[in-house]
Amino acid sequence: MKDLLRRLTSIPAPSGREEQIRAFIQAELKDYCDELTVDTMGNLIAFKRGGKTKLQFAAHMDEIGVIVTAIDEQGFLRFSNIGGIRPHRLYAQRVRFQNGTMGVIGAEKIDDLKQLTLEKLYIDIGATSAEEAKTKVAVGDIASFDHGYLDLGQRVVAKALDDRVGCAVLIEALKRVTKPQNDLYCTFTVQEEVGLRGAKTAAFGLDPDLGIALDVTATGDTPEAPKLAMKLGQGAAIKVKDVSLITHPQVKELLTTLAEQNGIPHQFEVLPFGGTDAGAIHLTKAGIPAGVISVPCRYLHSPSEMVDLNDVEAAVRLVVATMEHPITL
């Protein structure tokens, strides 16, 4: 799992540019499912036959990033955000473009941190002129954070664990499941960070009976943290509510019962901010019962997100248990 996480998180693939991560996941799964398709939006759908109920899992492949909007006369790059990035998290961070070009984010002079907005930041790729810059990057190019993977033992740190850890859970579950009792549509979605877009269109095309998203959730276990119940190491989080979704009671029941019956460590989650693919799935067509299995994660939307491998393992076990449980709603 550590190796899978390391490889998944090292691929730069912000929303709208998921090609490289999709190719990687396709290669990982080709021997573990009955069919692999890519739809119009670019979602990867891994289908595995198993039973009557159509079960959709969703983990998003995209990460937050930045997009170059202008190249100024000195060769500095102005940019905008892809997904939720707070300006104060960007200062002095390193970014990597898809063609390998690297840069660092600088800021205009400000008197007060409150004045720091994206418009006051720029990327410096070390070019000595605008012409030189234009040989390396173009307006419209996309970059992601560049930060190495850290193995801290039980816990690991990397950028884009949101939601590469969800992808890892789904990949590992597909490799482990031996007797699926439902038809599994494991969707690796695109453009979640810019509005759950891939999940919306994937669910429309699939029209499943039930949908479960695999994503990360915040924790309340760091100094003077927001008052959240979720903690690293307490198991897979069964989501009750976030801004995009109130988990269908039957789905919450199902996941809770499966966790309890199988002795899978779990905790309950209410997140007063944020949303997941399940938010889009449950409102598709005439409605789809949906829920989320979350991996608790510290330092979300920073280059150094942290998860606990016990929680990741618990999530994999819960997904497999769901896949192997004949679901009737």
């Binding site: 929303s15 709208g16 540019r17 739809d39 119009t40 939006m41 997009i67 909007t69 202008a70 190249i71 100024d72 006369e73 102005r78 905008s80 955000n81 892809i82 418009e119 307006v139 419209g140 453009q191 810019v194 877009r197 919306k200 269109t201 994937a202 429309f204 095309g205």
Partner: protein, 341 residues
């Protein structure tokens, strides 16, 4: 002049009737079928006997404006904005109220009667009203009613060096582009959608796209040109005179790289000037179309326009002409080579 006629029609979001009738009358005979749907979108199909992917071209008929929400005892009309208007542009403007185009003015307290500090703060819409010259409420109610839509009174026309000014260029300019394209024949099934209520939430495009379910969509819009002081060069987004603007991303959509590449290739091959929209903010109908059903590939081509969402917008007539050329070349290219993958 088509652009002038379209600009001077009143069609504030949800009250697009005059624009719809005008366009319908003009395009009859040029298209195979015309229909309106339940929201009032005008859809013209040029698809008889045509094979290939269905391409939807979309431009919205509605403009930002105001609405009568109450009538004072004194006969003055209380107003609210429809669509995103910077309230500061409203004061001291001439308007037309309702389908009968009753003339009015947006008044506010004269300078003589103000404290100095008042002038530092914009007047909020709650402090603004429209005066149609009525003596009291009963008198006002003879000509206007609650719910009437209010548009700016602006004479459109060319000015300066090849520029054009008028209200509602967002997005009557787009509508004009579509109407021009209809003069040509393409070897491709086409659906021209003149949509409603874009400015209040991309409402018309949502249902039009669902109903048409095209293989590809092209949204023809106007976009902010910030080539005016005090904005710095990198903040301009687009410039007048540099050609139609191709979007790579905005808050509603990320355009597929393959689509952008095709547009650029078409432009370069045909020698059509173009620029990139150097901004990722704002939103267009492309977003709702892109996320319709199982997903529809969309691109956005915009005519740069200064002072959007104000009573007087300004565009470059050459940019307008080049936009038509670019889309024309693009459609011919799609007919020949199929959709970009």
């Amino acid at each position: 002049m088509l652009l002038k006629e379209l600009s001077e029609l009143n069609g504030v979001s949800s009250g697009e009737t005059a624009v719809r009738h005008f366009i319908r009358n003009r395009i009859q005979g040029r298209v195979d079928r015309i229909q309106t749907d339940r929201l009032g979108n005008l859809i013209a199909r040029c698809d008889q006997g045509k094979k290939g992917p269905l391409v939807m071209l979309s431009a919205h008929m509605d403009e930002v404006g105001l609405m009568v929400v109450g009538i004072d005892a004194s006969g003055l009309l209380k107003i609210k904005t429809i669509g995103g208007i910077d309230e500061r542009v409203l004061i001291s403007k001439r308007v037309f109220v309702g389908p009968q185009r009753i003339p009015g003015v947006i008044g506010a307290k004269p300078i003589h009667l103000q404290e100095r500090e008042e002038r530092e703060r914009p007047v909020k819409t709650t402090g603004l009203f429209v005066d149609i010259g009525a003596t009291d409420r009963n008198d006002a109610e003879k000509d206007v009613k609650i719910g009437d839509l209010i548009a700016f009174d602006v004479q459109a026309g060319p000015f300066g060096d090849g520029l054009f000014k008028g209200k509602a260029l967002d997005d009557r300019a787009g509508c004009a582009v579509l109407m021009n394209l209809m003069e040509n024949e393409y070897d491709l099934p086409l659906a021209y959608a003149f949509t409603v209520q874009e400015e209040v939430g991309l409402r018309g495009a949502t249902v039009a796209a669902y109903g048409l379910n095209p293989d590809l969509a092209l949204v023809v819009e106007t976009t902010s040109a910030g080539d005016v002081p005090p904005l710095k060069k990198h903040q301009a987004s687009t410039r007048l005179g540099a050609g139609p603007a191709i979007s790579f991303m905005d808050r509603s959509v990320i355009v597929k790289p393959a689509l952008i590449e095709r547009l650029v290739a078409v432009a370069e091959e045909a020698g059509i000037p173009y620029q990139f929209r150097e901004s990722a903010s704002g939103g267009t109908e492309a977003g709702v179309i892109n996320q319709t059903r199982s997903g529809i590939p969309v691109a956005v081509i915009s005519i740069p326009c200064r002072y959007i969402h104000s009573p007087v917008g300004v565009l470059n007539l050459d940019d307008f002409a080049q936009t038509i050329k670019l889309i024309d070349a693009f459609l011919r290219n799609i007919a020949q080579r199929g959709l970009p993958v």
